[in-house]
């Protein structure tokens, strides 16, 4: 399936539409059954930016792993552009919470790793790797090994790796969670710019309600035991948004109140 992707910009503008239908997952921990996800359904339009917030244990990371194809649900099904997700694919890029750069490869090699299975001339790939390194602000650190980078720099390299194959669907598992607030707000703007350019669908799991409202078209609030969708908030205000807008503050209040009662 890797050949379906190319180095050029995605031709189909309406790629990356997700349908999650009645997805369930139970874990068995010490003779107890834990419903990590219970009949979760959600439709995500192509090009939408979705954030999932919720307390730990609500199954939001599990759901993201299902979307990536890394794990499979017990019940229900997930399709992306009509195709059932049954294994990982370069069409669904994921950025993990811990950067997961291979420690024995330098920044350049780590980013290039995601283009290995794609068709294309080596020169084109090299150019793409360099442009992504420039994009995330790591110019001059191409040959640095991950242990020589700060946490923020590593995470930026991981984002470059996730973006390199131009996936129509980008999955982010608390990608900015470990960063300082300055790097964080800078990368938030960067994410929006990238999304605008690539027209990709983005699904982001986060703990940060403010970040979710700032970035998303819709914020999905989940509740734990069993993991379910509690509410979905449409964020319609124009970007760039300001964290002190009355709309913004009101929505944040509603979401934090909802989370506090769960």
């Amino acid at each position: 399936m890797a050949d379906a992707l190319t180095l050029s910009r995605p031709a189909a503008r309406d790629a990356g539409a997700v349908a999650i239908l009645g997805v369930s997952k139970t874990f068995h921990v010490e003779n107890r059954t834990v419903h990590a996800l219970d009949d979760v359904s959600l439709a995500i339009a192509s090009g939408e930016f979705i954030s999932i917030v919720g307390p730990s244990g609500c199954g939001k990371s599990t759901l993201l792993r299902f979307l990536a194809g890394l794990d499979r649900p017990d019940g229900g099904r997930i399709t992306v552009d009509g195709e059932v997700v049954d294994r990982p694919s370069l069409k669904r890029g994921i950025v993990f919470q811990d950067h997961r750069l291979l420690p024995w490869l330098n920044v350049e090699e780590n980013v290039a790793l995601s283009l290995r299975s794609l068709a294309g001339a080596p020169a084109d790939k090299k150019e793409r790797v360099q442009s992504l390194i420039d994009l995330v602000g790591l110019t001059g650190f191409e040959k640095a090994l991950p242990h020589e980078l700060s946490g923020g720099m590593s995470q930026r390299a991981a984002i470059a790796r996730g973006l390199a194959p131009r996936p129509p669907l980008l999955l982010l598992d608390e990608p900015l969670g470990a960063l300082d607030s300055l790097t964080r707000s800078y990368l938030q703007d960067e994410l929006l710019a990238i999304r605008e350019r690539e027209k990709s669908t983005v699904v982001m799991v986060t703990h940060d309600v403010e970040e979710a409202i700032y970035l998303s078209d819709r914020v999905v609030v989940m509740e734990p035991r069993p993991g379910r969708i509690a509410a979905i908030f449409d964020i319609t205000s124009r970007r760039p948004r300001h964290r002190d807008d009355p709309d913004f503050v009101a929505t944040r209040r509603k979401i934090t109140d909802l989370l506090a009662t769960r």
Binding site: S89, L90, L113, R197, R238, R239
Partner: protein, 288 residues
Amino acid sequence: MSDVTFKAPVIIRDRRPQRAGAGEGAARSWPRPWLPDAAARVLLGLVPPLALLALWSYAVRQEWLAEQILPAPILVYETTLDLLLTGQLAEELSVSLARVGAGLAIGGGLGLLFGLAFGLFRTLDLYVAPTVRAFCLVPSLGWLPFFMLVFGIGETLKLVLIAKTCFLPLMVGAYEGLHSRPRKYDDVASVLELSWFSRVRLVVWPSILPSILTGIRQALSRGWKVLILVEMISSAAGLGYLMMWGRKAFQLDVVFATMIVIGLVGWALDYALTRFQHRATAWSFKAA
């Protein structure tokens, strides 16, 4: 959304120093001016052997031991020089190095294969590995009487014994490497749709390499010691033979010269491998 503009890399570069923090300093400072540092370390490292030499000279001068048992350092030095100049030392050393090299290649290679097989196939690990480990835990010298009867006392015996000694460290190294390797990178390999070959070469192999290199270091130092022992028992060449010859001729200066050479060469081999390990798998000494 149209009012979102893409930031130029120039701006990013301007902002970087404030955000990158300590990590940036670490990345920049890696070509350290470490020459004076290294010189100091070499000097410090020379203190204990020089002190030992002084004690030795003092002991000889005070005649704590008979001259035939504890030869004077200067005599040992002259003997070493003599052995060097006649070419005998180089000859015996090359015989010994060739033996340890061959033994390491055979035993270590087999150990690596077995370790990888046990690490990859659970059935083999369950049913075969305990027997292999038990065999290995009988010390090399314990096998010697049996091996002597089977292989004679020729070249085969030495090879078998060194190979047997080198087998376990590499088997354990490869096995532990596979068992303790970080699984989280498998997700990355899956998501990036790496081929089986790329996965092994770029994700699995580098992650177990540090453990294998540690195995090679242990195999080499153990193999070196066993080699000298077996050369002392049955050989007509090699450093162990030279030492045995010195003992039989009651030339303790030769024995001492050989001891020093054995120690120095063993140390140099281990040092070279350690340096290589630090260069080849630098990340494993730093990464969390």
